[in-house]
């Protein structure tokens, strides 16, 4: 494995983890933009723009883009998050150059009005789809409630209303501000020909004009809000809770990841033994999510409506207990073993390494090997976890519950359902 990096005069960075023994190559454009960069009337524009990239360029129609990506046998897709928009393709090494050419081209989309109006229907279908499937938007709604006016409260998909109101002009303005080469990184992993990658990037992206791009990163607020959303047609009750946690830049993010595994991994965790193994909940889990200058521990509970209040009290008790008593050395050892094994297993595919390498670069401009990742988890001590517990409090959590309940009292009181 060899790490290579290069920067074009216009600021576009090209990085690669080259593994001559790999069978495939994965490459992607990582654009440092997402829902957190959308002001009020732009909600959902990053994700909509991601769709529009596949709807054609001055040189290619939408059908051309789809056809050419299939002709090279690629597994190509894109995703949008709070702070990244990523366009990627996994290909056999002989197709690296064509994949680079197609992906570079779609990063300068035509944004034609007809395509915009047709694709808007697909986005509205996608919004309707997520509103109609578990957990019925509980995660995004809880982020919105927790972060209030903070940019991390913005929904990635936007709503039916905000997306309906978007215009091609608004999207073009957003594109002009955010899709600047100095805000984009071309990342590759696997069997990569780095010299060719740089030459192709120069040819296809060298003329993209640079301009200063900014992002607001205010501190995360602290909240204890509670919202119950009545959805009488749901069979189960879905609850999401958010507490503040380590951010992307914080050294204690590894302790945060281990802590979330000990408390709320989907197997073998404290939540699991108390609620899932006993059949009291279908799911009770905790994950740590890191963003620029903010992070969260997100707890997810899904269970029968009648059990929701008691299960929430149970989660509260488990969190109070860990805050008071900490964790054991044996728990920490098992969590390390579990996470490190997952890191190594996932790294076997270049398409997975792509996201790890690109994510690290976008967040911290650093390259970390698989060994670095494993070592970072291995070196966390009980003391680090207890420092983490002193820094973040689970007494301040934001809660959103969606389901048939019309009343939900987490302090051990009765729940009522209609």
């Amino acid at each position: 494995m060899q790490f290579r990096e290069h920067r074009l005069p216009n600021g576009l960075e090209i990085i690669a983890e080259c593994n001559p023994d790999a069978y495939s190559a994965a490459l992607g454009f990582f654009v440092n933009t997402g829902a957190r960069d959308e002001s009020g009337n732009l909600a959902g524009v990053s994700h909509f723009l991601e769709h529009m990239a596949f709807k054609g360029t001055p040189a290619r129609s939408a059908a051309d883009v789809n056809r050419e990506l299939d002709e090279i046998g690629s597994h190509a897709n894109a995703f949008t998050s709070e702070e990244q928009t990523v366009y990627y393709a996994a290909v056999l090494p002989e197709w690296q150059r064509r994949a680079t050419a197609i992906l570079s081209d779609i990063l300068r989309p035509a944004l034609r009005d007809d395509d915009f109006n047709l694709e808007k229907q697909v986005i509205l279908e996608e919004i309707a789809k997520y509103e109609d499937q578990p957990p019925f938007g509980a995660g995004e709604k809880c982020m919105a409630l927790h972060f209030r006016n903070h940019p991390l409260g913005h929904s990635v998909l936007g709503t039916n209303e905000t997306v309906t109101a978007l215009t091609p002009e608004l999207m073009r303005g957003y594109f002009e501000r955010r899709y600047r080469p100095n805000n984009i990184c071309l990342v590759a992993a696997g069997k990569v020909d780095f010299a060719a990658l740089v030459a192709d990037a120069e040819q296809h992206c060298g003329a993209w004009p640079a301009r200063k791009v900014a992002r607001e990163t205010p501190p995360a607020p602290s909240s204890t809000d509670f919202q119950l959303i009545h959805k009488p047609s749901a069979a189960q009750q879905y609850v999401v809770q958010i507490a503040n946690g380590p951010a992307t830049e914080d050294a204690d993010r590894f302790a945060g990841g281990l802590f979330a595994t000990i408390l709320g991994d989907d197997s073998g965790s404290r939540f699991f033994w108390e609620l899932v193994d006993t059949g009291r909940a279908e799911c009770a889990s905790m994950t740590a999510c890191e963003f620029q200058r903010a992070g969260v521990f997100m707890t997810f509970l899904c269970c029968a409506p009648a059990d929701a209040a008691e299960n929430l009290s149970c989660l509260e008790r488990l969190l109070a207990q860990v805050e008071e008593e900490g964790i054991t050395e044996a728990e920490l050892t098992r969590a390390k073993s579990k996470i490190c094994s997952q890191v190594v297993l996932q790294s076997e595919r270049p398409s997975n390494r792509l996201f790890a390498v690109g994510g690290n670069w976008l967040a911290r401009r650093e390259y970390r090997t698989i060994r670095d990742a494993v070592d970072s988890y291995r070196s966390v001590t009980l003391h680090d976890i207890h420092d983490l517990l002193a820094k973040y409090s689970f007494r301040h959590q934001t809660t959103v519950a969606v389901g048939p309940l019309t009343r939900l009292d987490s302090a051990g009181g009765p729940a009522s359902s209609d």
Binding site: Y23, R67, E125, K129, A235, G279, A304, V344
Partner: protein, 394 residues
């Protein structure tokens, strides 16, 4: 696969939900849950903690023909993990004290399906497309899950957890002679006995609507196809690939790209041992559901008029990269070779699959489609109102 650091195994035990007695739907799943709650020298907690220490990313599921257990792990831990799973399938405690918690876990899974409409439609589609018990899914029914007792679980275990029909697929960085000797020690004295034959009923087929007040309508369509072991399987698979593999495939182009009718639409081959189907799904808002179904059925009927060379070239490029990328994952390879063994009693190498794909041509696929045109559709919808299926000849 010496280039990997991992190894993975897939253990198929011939204890699928097609073996559930009629009034005890869910028994296979219940037994699988119980088997993992203490086996050999380990109790329920020790079982999970030991797997965590070995870094095993494990899974267990119940399909129609098998209960499937498996996982991927750092290569050096394969042997110890196999020993743990040998206890699960041979020496589970099936202890009374785990019974009620297991029951609740199974009921939770069943209830989760109630909110997952896309899955619910596909479960109902398979149930109607195949004769019982081949269309069943493993979740069972609430009534049955409430009634199952420990004796029934023990009896099911003793009858169906057996070596005849069990398959162990292993892939990754491994030492073959050492693995064989190890498996011989773990499973060599496992004994079999005869099991009853499966009696099948008639398939329901036709159109069925599941009423549900929602802004979305979920559509499932199935039609008969050949099973994996059939000589023509790859002709059928090629035709479905042209319908659904990749962003330039027909369903994606006609339904999503040209008309913006929905976000998700797909078709895939589904195979049982001796019969197969093509199953299709589309999810859309209620007011666009009728048009979505019409276009979907039109595309299925149009398929019988043949496929084009450029479509096939793209499909071959995609399949070729899938085959090569399979070599990057021990888990993906171990489950494919276990499935191959079940359907074919041998394993197709990636080279052999490559040759089969090279030999596909428009002629061979079109000949197949001419004699096996999509038709006899089974249709299931879930949503606010039923749809018109005049095109669906059942």
């Amino acid at each position: 696969m010496p280039w990997l650091e991992s190894a993975a195994f897939t253990l198929l035990v011939p204890a699928g939900c097609s073996r559930d007695p009629e009034r005890l739907a869910g028994l296979a799943g219940f037994t699988c849950e119980m088997a993992q709650r203490g086996a050999g020298p380990r109790d329920s907690r020790q079982f999970i903690e030991d797997l965590e220490m070995l870094g095993v990313d494990g899974s267990a599921s119940v399909a129609n023909a098998h209960t499937s257990l498996g996982g991927a792990m750092p290569a050096e831990n394969l042997y110890e993990a196999l020993a743990i799973y040998a206890d699960v399938v041979r020496r589970p405690h099936l202890d009374e004290c785990e019974l009620e918690d297991s029951r609740l876990v199974c009921l939770q899974e069943l209830r989760a399906l109630e909110d997952d409409f896309a899955q619910k439609v596909m479960v109902e589609l398979r149930r109607r497309r195949y004769p019982d018990p081949y269309g069943r899914s493993g979740q069972g029914t609430e009534e049955a899950l409430h009634s199952i007792d420990l004796e029934q679980i023990r009896h099911y275990f003793q009858t169906f957890y057996r070596p005849r029909g069990a398959i162990l697929g292993v892939a990754g960085k491994l030492d073959w002679p050492r693995l064989c000797a190890h498996v011989e020690r773990l499973f060599g004295d496992w004994t079999s006995h005869p099991v009853p034959e499966i009696l099948e009923s008639r398939a329901l087929g036709g159109y069925h609507h599941l009423p549900h007040s929602s802004s979305q309508t979920h559509i499932g369509v199935a039609y008969p196809s050949v099973p994996y072991a059939h000589d023509d399987y790859f002709q059928a698979r090629g035709a479905v690939g042209i319908l659904s593999d990749g962003m330039s495939s027909r369903l994606f182009t006609e339904i999503r790209e040209k008309r913006g009718l929905c976000y998700s639409v797909y078709a895939s081959c589904h195979s049982l041992h001796d019969r197969g189907s093509v199953v299709c799904y589309a999810g859309t808002t209620t007011e666009r559901a009728q048009e979505t179904l019409n276009v979907l059925l039109c595309e299925l009927v149009r398929l019988s008029r043949g496929v084009e060379q450029d479509e096939l070239d793209r499909l071959k490029a995609r399949i070729k990269s899938i085959l090569i990328m399979q070599q990057e994952s021990s888990m993906s390879r171990s489950s494919s070779i276990a499935a191959d063994w079940y359907f074919l009693h041998r394993v197709r190498t990636l080279q052999e699959l490559g040759r089969i794909v090279d030999q596909l041509s428009c002629d061979t696929i079109n000949r197949y489609l001419a004699s096996n045109p999509p038709g006899d559709f089974t249709v299931v919808t879930l949503g606010d109102k039923p749809l018109e299926t005049s095109l669906a000849v059942s």
